[in-house]
Amino acid sequence: MDVRVSDRPPPVAALPFDDWVAARSVALLRFAYLLTGSQSEAEDAVQSALERALARWSVVSQAKDPETYVRRMIVNEHISLWRRWRRRVSPVAVVRETSGGAGDPAELVAGTDAVRRMCAQLPPAQRVAVVLRFYQDLDYREIAALLGCAEATARSHVHRALQALRRELEGNGDA
């Protein structure tokens, strides 16, 4: 299924795999970090997606936007992993990793804290929808295509996430 390319970087001409990864790894890692909330999970998710891309690089590299293809694999793996175990899974306590470069937590504005807490508590599908909408700037049709759901469902995911953010801010007295 083709995904319309909006205002993302123009596709790079078919590069060798290593060169392409060097050019896009930063963006992919940041994207995966927002999806998973964990540095180690982000690295694993990107690595897994790139392994599959490498196996088909002769085809992937010729696509209009290989990065969209890889991002889709990252999203799919993140969602399928959750779906695989969700019937047997109670929410698992994931170690929240702190970045050495984030500075003193006391200096974080209330908004950052609220967004961080909201993202950590969102179900995976809502979290993915939020990241795709407000970090990747995809429209709802593209989000629905990536999540494999109806466009109305994608809108609902985003709407609920915004409600959750409002509740977090109201809880801090910042409404």
Binding site: L29, V46, V95, V115
Partner: protein, 365 residues
């Protein structure tokens, strides 16, 4: 609403900046692909050996769907060669369950002597040079001699439950990564070269509720005061749940443990082993009630049988040693009434009794 959307955009961009991006991804991807290629070639070669040798392998799955655990092993090449087959089983420790491949064996974990695989997927004790597809380790002593080992380049993938290791991820060299998370009140550790496998195993960790095996007991397990069901006298079992306990002082007790007896292992078996147990205990010489008067401490097994006519409990006291039938009458513990339930991972968590000769079973065997 528009302000919220802009807030989200700004803060997601800020959060994304927290990610560490100096990661040699291309290098890792190529290294993983080389390892996968070598593993496929090795498995293909082992499959050829199997086909030529005519060896048969029976795998079993336990947990949700009880199956007969009469599996046989055909050695090291078998485990490695069948690592790609499907099927998972549930492993539980301190109320936390993790799904692992059914082809994996059992062993120890940091926190007790012998953080290594010791039991194959079919319950047999490993010989010196056998290699498994993977194993589940618990902090239960596997050997009386502790060795200080350098945790680099493991030989086989593993899941450790309740291991005494710090939370976080560490690279062990050779592409091996060990990651530990705290789930509930215990740790779940996965060590593997396969990032996808590691993620999947860690993601399967969940809280387990219910079932006949209590996570801890203040006193040794005992048979139910009154067996459930019609009490028609003829009991036809359909399944047997094995709950293995040890006193906290002898087991790898966790700081959270406050009761004297900890659940070390649980497994559900099918009708076959249950019927074998009933017949073997009925044939074993009675020792009379209270033969092990005042028994405390040591290792115990609660065998909970479900049948068409309700449920029945048998209780094994490995220190005595004896096995109590549902009426509370203690019988002699023999190899015949141990073999039906001392299977699979039980052999990696209980040391057994030197008074009962069951070669190849239990740690002390």
């Amino acid at each position: 609403m528009r302000d919220l959307e802009q807030l989200l955009r700004d803060e997601l961009t800020r959060l994304a900046g927290e990610a560490r991006t100096a990661v040699p991804l291309a290098e890792r991807v190529r290294a993983a692909r080389r390892r996968r290629t070598r593993a496929w070639l090795g498995a293909a070669a082992a499959a050829v050996v199997l086909a030529v040798g005519g060896a048969g392998v029976a795998l079993h799955r336990v947990g949700v769907e009880p199956v007969d655990s009469g599996a046989t092993s055909s050695g090291a090449a078998t485990d490695a060669g069948t690592g790609a087959l499907l099927g998972f089983r549930l492993e539980v420790w301190h109320g936390i369950g993790v799904y692992v491949p059914a082809t994996w064996g059992w062993g120890g974990a940091p926190g007790a002597c012998g953080a290594m695989p010791t039991v194959g997927a079919d319950g047999h004790r490993l010989s010196g040079d056998e290699v498994l597809a993977g194993y589940v380790g618990r902090p239960i002593a596997q050997t009386s001699h502790c060795r200080v080992t350098d945790p680099t380049e493991p030989l086989t993938p593993y899941v450790w439950l309740g291991a005494d290791v710090p939370v976080g991820a560490r690279r062990l060299g050779g592409g091996w990564v060990q990651e530990t998370r705290r789930v509930g009140g215990t740790t779940v550790t996965v060590g593997t070269q396969d990032a996808g496998e590691r993620r999947s195993l860690l993601a399967s960790a969940h809280v387990v509720v219910g079932g006949p095996c209590a996570a801890s007991l203040p006193d040794p397990p005992s048979v139910a005061a009154k067996p459930s069901g019609q009490g028609s006298g003829h009991f036809e079992p359909t399944s047997m749940t094995v709950c293995a306990y040890a006193s906290s002082s002898s087991a790898g007790s966790s700081p959270e443990s406050s009761a004297p007896y900890e659940l070390l292992y649980e497994e559900q078996l099918a009708a076959g082993p249950a019927k074998q147990l009933v017949a073997a205990v009925a044939a074993a010489a009675p020792m009379g009630e209270h033969s092990c008067f005042g028994a405390s401490g040591g290792e115990w097994a609660l065998l909970h049988l479900e049948g068409s006519d309700g449920s029945r409990d048998y209780v094994v006291d490995l220190s005595c040693p004896s096995i109590a039938d549902p009426s509370g009458l203690q019988h002699e513990l023999t190899s015949a009434d141990m073999l039906p339930w001392a299977v699979d991972g039980v052999n990696a968590v209980l040391h057994g009794s030197p008074l009962v000769d069951v070669p190849g079973h239990l740690i002390g065997g």
